[in-house]
Symmetry: D3
Subunit: 341 residues, 6 copies
């Protein structure tokens, strides 16, 4: 957490705030009578991480006009996220239940979000003109347009204005087939929105889904897919990806790769045994990219994002509550567990 924030242009995130509910100690819900909860959601996780890196961050969203929405705002404020563009509406806050796996048992999630406060967002609820004032980065993910027509339209309006204003748009367009219930074709929508974006955070899988291609997964495939993406969506300048190997729910390996528009770069692989929390590790990576783009060159950006992603596996909850200094320690290989006194 950094108290004194350097006053540069802010980052804006758009997306749903979800309450996560989870029994502790790897319990199944039916063995429990108590759950821990956290507020998160993929874009809010990015926002929180960037606030902990010392940036000004504002999230555009809807929350419920009840005690749950009050607590969500409280949590955002606690993370240091600007909540002045949060609307309170008469629909319940979205939420999800998480059973945390271990070793060869995967974690399980059940969602309750499709009629929630964010699903009921609409363009007239957001004053994009005012929100994007003094903004230099706008971040979105593929989850938001998958929730509802209103979320899609609201996001599109924001992206279009951002492009007019010369704001850098970062896209993390994961396609989740079990969303997209409201009638739109997910792949088409995502391609349209990626076309309004400048930085692509994703890999062969995501590109194949959006472009309906079938690039292979190794290095050459990634380069080819990246080039093809830039061809089809010419506003895209760079593609940042991470490659994960899951030995089990408790043991993961990650490295980063990127196509910088000019060359392929990659990082060392971090190995995380004793995973504390797998949720939000991708968002930690995205936040690392957004921070890096504003402070480092591409290689260091990729290393920083990859280290941030690895470090998030050790933090409970959705958000990566670590400082720039802590991430750089991992980048520098200081991972032997010596106590900081």
């Amino acid at each position: 957490m950094q108290q004194n924030i350097i006053n540069k242009g802010k980052v804006v995130t758009f997306g749903e705030v979800l309450m996560r509910l989870s029994p502790s100690e790897n319990r199944k819900l039916q063995q429990s009578n108590r759950m821990d909860f956290f507020f998160g959601g993929t874009e809010m996780n990015v926002a929180a991480s960037l606030a902990y890196f010392g940036l000004n961050v504002q999230q555009v969203t809807n929350v419920s006009n009840d005690l749950v929405g009050d607590a969500a705002i409280t949590s955002m404020r606690q993370f240091g996220i600007d909540v002045s563009a949060v609307n309170k509406v008469h629909h319940p806050l979205g939420l999800y239940f998480l059973e945390v796996g271990s070793a060869l048992r995967p974690s399980k999630i059940a969602y309750n979000r499709l009629h929630g406060s964010f699903a009921n967002i609409s363009p007239e609820q957001v004053d994009w003109e005012s929100v994007l004032e003094n903004c230099n980065y706008l971040h979105w993910t593929g989850i938001s347009p998958a929730i509802s027509e209103g979320a899609y339209q609201t996001l599109k309006e924001g992206l279009e204005l951002a492009q007019q204003k010369g704001i850098t748009v970062t896209a993390d367009p994961a396609y989740r087939s079990n969303l997209w219930k409201y009638g739109r074709n997910g792949q088409e929508v995502l391609k349209e929105l990626v076309s309004l974006s400048n930085i692509f955070i994703g890999g062969v899988n995501e590109i194949n889904e959006i472009l309906n291609t079938d690039f292979p997964f190794e290095e050459e495939g990634f380069i080819g897919a990246s080039k093809k993406l830039i061809e089809e969506c010419p506003k895209i300048e760079k593609v940042f990806d991470k490659v994960r190997t899951g030995l089990s729910a408790s043991w993961q390996k990650i490295y980063g790769q990127a196509w910088t528009g000019e060359k392929y770069i990659t990082t060392e692989e971090h190995e995380v045994t004793d995973v504390v929390d797998r949720i939000g590790t991708g968002d930690a990576y995205a936040a690392g990219i957004l921070y890096g783009l504003q402070h480092f060159d591409d290689q260091k950006t990729l290393e920083f994002a990859n280290a941030a992603c690895a470090l998030k596996h050790t933090i409970l909850g959705d958000a990566n509550l670590v400082s720039v200094e802590e991430v750089l320690e991992v980048v520098h290989g200081n991972t032997g567990g010596r106590i900081k006194r």
Copy 2:
């Protein structure tokens, strides 16, 4: 809890199963990172209490087809409720958040139920013919028809068949104005459904709402309202009511009154200091009535129900997990707190 259940006709309840989520120690949600949870809902609370009184009870409902629905079924089974008429559907389980007040601070509730698994119930999902076989009591409340058209139609179908089969229908038709969002007029629907019922659990307030009358609240008003109700809904035979005086969220007084069709009866008042849980006390009363009608005369039924209601204030969670013997101890005035060894 009674293990050996006397094999008489079962009680059937129809209604929503809700997950209740609540921070402990009177905390506000925003001061918490952990919540206790319980499964309940007004009709399930009646079912659970009757199962603890030793009756066979079956609940007709929908739960979600996910880990939350699994846990709901687990909880019903734990209470001894027959779950063979529970459907699993692809909508999330309804739930509510509770902040528990104390002294002069009231408790607060926020719901998330109007697009849940029960709201999506429809008549073709329930085989009433089979459910009502070997049933002698069918219980409903005014919450269910307030949730959705499907819940209303499903309930009406069950009540009509119950009347054909000579099953006693008990109605607890509280009108909650903040429900009834799907288009029907609540008062009209409730009057229609009360007309298909035999026992009315409620008082002047509920009758005035249903009949659009304005009987006063004291004894004479209650008698007049009861008579008027029986006149308008002639299947109704008896009216059982409880009268609550709230000194504060932590200190409550309750007594029962009834119109037996022939005379007005009443009970002593129980005083409950140090309230542990106020939720479900009305359901505990209703369960007391249903048990009493099958075992006692009207006066003892009323005393039993009133004592059950008082006792519920000392039990955490929605359901009144007490035995017939424990209720009778209260009826007999053994309330001095002597430890049972």
Copy 3:
């Protein structure tokens, strides 16, 4: 807790160490998956309270030769009780389950003790000669001889030696009919052991049980019963009693009365709303008597014991973890809840 213990003769207690297991928040066991535990037992509670009053106290008992017995000894040591006369045997430690009631719901207890480590005690396991060296008070209760023949014989041997040595024996001979499963007649045994005692802690109820009399419960009955007791058991010098009025499990009133051998004395009544823990309040009273006899006159002894008893209702667990100063504050009427900074 007092660190510097004045070096006078020690108090010895003889009795079972029990583990108490209890769900928190007034839960029933079946609603819980977690229990708090404490080590106690009526005589150990007296010992712990006396240690907190600054006396040297040693308990004679058996514990299990396993991880539970280790934890029991740890707990005794934590309270400041001398554990050098504790034997470890190959029988499990006794324990009990407590469901904590509230308001008009009583607490419930289930025991598991009759084949435990203390039930298997026998005279040859205790070196009374060494234990009673430098001892000036020996305390016992009616629970111990009710557990097993071995416990009875061991206790009797200790009492006889104490009488030879001129040690003051204090008796708290509550008769519990659901114990005494091993064949002896409880009333006879208790009378025999009271005959080996000097101070009687109990009232009309206990005397009637032991002497098979039927003195009434008011003041005159108490005086008459006390005189009769001294007549029948002439080693008894004084009779100390407390009178409890239970408004509910959460609201209790207590005052003390005594027959000093010469006159009847009594105290003001303390009223305890918001009872935290009812267990061990009688033991707190007994400890107050034992402390008082060594420091105060009879009137102050009675007031001190009554205040100690009242104060125990506010302390979680079996033992009265309060100092002499804290008890005297209650004796002096400083009970308005002003924070001590």
Copy 4:
């Protein structure tokens, strides 16, 4: 919690942020292995309450430059307090331990604050000119100048500037004799600082301490003391007081009285059984006064403050996390515990 803050001049508070550590369930520390913690401190409690009432509030303080200070800032931000005037220094954050009493057992506090981050504050660390810009109320208490010479000097500098700028200064000058270890005479300092203030929050006790008088405690004494105070410290315009009757640690009664400069006014008495948390109730009263002075007349201000104080007894933690609406419900007598759905 109110999200949309009306943009009027802010309130500034000056004081220490303390971590409070407390075992739950009325446990003594030595029976515990876990503590709940909260961040508070008398002035921060006022700040938090005012933020929940919807005002802009900024606190001037020092916190530690470590993980504890980070968490303190996080907590302030969560409450909605502006943290831009918080300094981070290389001294540990002050803290206190609380054992929560019940019924006739008082709560106990142990402090660790006299060498902490706030004790090491000095005038050059605070830019009062900038802090008091756009400020219309500055609040202080008698705790701050009692901590250290630096705290005293820093506060005095702020008060002097506030008077120059025409800012209303509210003083809650409780004298605690176990502070004031650094050499100054507490009574003298407090009188000096009250002379720089406009609203006095306190009663006969506080006035007698400051003026070295001995007014009696009933109405006439309060009026006389108030008049004398205004005579001696002529910037003081009004005196607001609350009168507390402690039946026990769990049962308190409170009413308000004030000298408005022209007349004596008073309120009804609120009775709080089942006290959840006694800490911070005086701060809740002070916040009520500060809010009232900006929104109501004197009579309603007093009633609002008294109701806020009563309500705080039901909220866990140091801060009164309630809205204006919730306080007004108590003012209007809606205290019967009806659940808010």
Copy 5:
């Protein structure tokens, strides 16, 4: 958990229900004041797992006639086990304490069961004729006949009737030398009871104990021992075994082997790092065998059982609360920890 149970013949298990008590976070009992509890016992664990696999399962047992026995029944019902053959008796429920180890520290258990409700079972308490109606599998382990003469005789009576009725008897006859306190020779009894069984779940160790042989532990030894067992106990048809390698308390490897009566078969080895709970893994294996025998061929049965055993290491508590689908995922190698949404 499967709600709709295919109506085929039921599985009956016979054995003790134990309460397990365990401090969390790898604490030693003496560092704790709180324990988690679960109901289990080797045969109940098999029953619960089979119920979660969708089979009808009934357990024959005794529980205590108190609040603990009530909770045990509640837990069995929650798991979906038929409790209609559970007797309530006036002896306390058996229980055990578990200190959970980690890495190179082993877990420790202390039992309290030898005078409990199950130890007091006797043949006249069980109506085997009725229990074995519509039963096609009866499962027992070597723990039950080791507890008491009554448990031995009751079991033998059941096995004999099962053989008469052509029910398949599965035996898991682990010999534990620290049981068998009531006078019988364990090896003799186990051989007698295995002679009444059809499927042997165990390996060289168990066979050597029963037959008093000394086969070596590798493949040839296992084949030889199996053949010898079938020779001596000719009702035995197949022998299913698992081979465990413990790298530490937190890291285990397991594979299965079997003698099908015709050939030796084996499985791949599963590796479990980050063990959540080691208890009941053998029971999970046994349940896998019982399910497999009813649904798969021998090879798949062995793979299924081995995967079930591995998966249990990730589930807290005694019972393997996983579905057939979850086990098959492990059989199919999907163990990389990808979150199930």
Copy 6:
């Protein structure tokens, strides 16, 4: 824990008792509202471990004269440490906050100790003559003289008397540069105090710091440094060291090495995956050395200490709550995680 302590000369430790406060589940403080706490401190950890090994141990220290100091004494007594040389003073007990890391995230500590009760110790508060009576080992570490001039002087006085009395002094002189705030040069003081010691527990790092040398870290460097140390501080007889390799915060490897005055000896390396608690592992090693020196030869002493150190990683809290038998199991390689029943 061993109950019957062999009556040989006691071990005396001198040092600070600290309260450790730590959120559970690897949480950061700012994500928590609850902390676990333990009492420890490097010398008290040695004392506790030796008490669990069955030795008589007494700690010389100051604690606060408040509820925290009371709890500290309670904890020492629970561990079996003699508290008769503990002074209570009017300064708060030292404490530290711990955020527990995992995998590649290190743990973090924030201290609050430099004005605490131990920092205010002075020679006249300790009656060394009486403390060192019947003592055969005196243990100190480099932390104590780093806290304050008083602590340094008090320690030096003790060491000088110990040398006069022929007591073996063991030194664990870690140099921590972020202590030593009171004006002394740490290296000089440590060298002076090591010169008053007989056994050195430390390695090349510590020797280089004290002697201002730069021996390399491998075997030859260790031998050279040890010889040089003995040359400079001729009372030193033996040097015991451990070599740790941190793969991550959750995965550590340790082996021991020593210079016995005559030869270099070493042990096998223990590997600890799934670290439960890293704090106090060095103290566990030191306790192992002190126990070994009194019971074993040098080689076994080193193996015992190394195994004790490894085992401590699996115990929550500061102190190594294991028996001699449990350590010997690790020495003998029984680390496969087989449950102890």
